[in-house]
Point group: C2
Chain length 138, copies 2
């Protein structure tokens, strides 16, 4: 089974019509678990899809989020970042290099949705920040 076929199926699960562009973007997210920005996605795909428009990347990601196929992270004040892994995990952003990493294996209680009289809570995002080892040394 080739990768594009898997991606195809994944999109259909979320009622997303798998156009060439959408498939390419989703495929990129599947293979690059670095929480890329719109610009990173566009820059990576652009050489092999010369007619791709950055607007399409925006449109595509907005659609993916609307349908729940990807998660938007707000950990980085500069750019939105995207994650196909919608399972419960936290993120770390290095204040020096700006890279965003996964933090797995935290206690599941951290991701529980609390009850609150004034709000209906739908989701939780846990974000850590500091310095990565590479940046700490220099």
């Amino acid at each position: 089974m080739n990768a594009s076929l898997q991606t195809h199926r994944y999109l259909l699960q979320f009622s997303i019509k798998p156009s060439v562009q959408r498939t390419a973007v989703m495929d990129y997210l599947m293979k690059n678990r670095t929480h890329p920005t719109i610009d990173e996605i566009y820059t990576a795909l652009s050489p092999s899809m010369p007619t791709l428009s950055k607007t399409t990347v925006y449109n595509t990601l907005n659609l993916f989020i609307e349908r729940g196929a990807v998660q938007a992270l707000v950990i980085d004040e500069k750019n939105a970042r995207f994650d196909v892994d919608t399972s419960s995990h936290a993120h770390f952003i290095c204040k020096s290099c700006g890279k965003v990493h996964d933090i797995f294996n935290l206690k599941p209680e951290l991701f529980e949705i609390p009850q609150h009289p004034n709000f209906t809570i739908h989701s939780v995002e846990i974000s850590y920040s500091g310095l990565c080892n590479a940046c700490k040394e220099s």
Copy 2:
């Protein structure tokens, strides 16, 4: 003891020279625990300080954050939001009206900084999102 004097002292604790503008901004944050945006702060202060520049509000908040006197929240993708309460508490943003509220009384374990071999973690931010009661009804 008047409010401005308290604010004065608070700023000095963080080695911030208490100019008229800085005192006004900090005073506003002390009295308005609504996690205001730059624009909200500027709009609120502007009538009583007609010469105030929005750049000054930016400069001032950047200084406060640098010195640790306030906390910047990244819960809202549209604007930075600011909080004088630097104690461990979480936030909720309503996806409809955009207001940001405090959530206190969560288990203290939630705010513990985990150990990780690859990162030196300095801070944690816990953000919930959903709908507030007012928005849910309409």
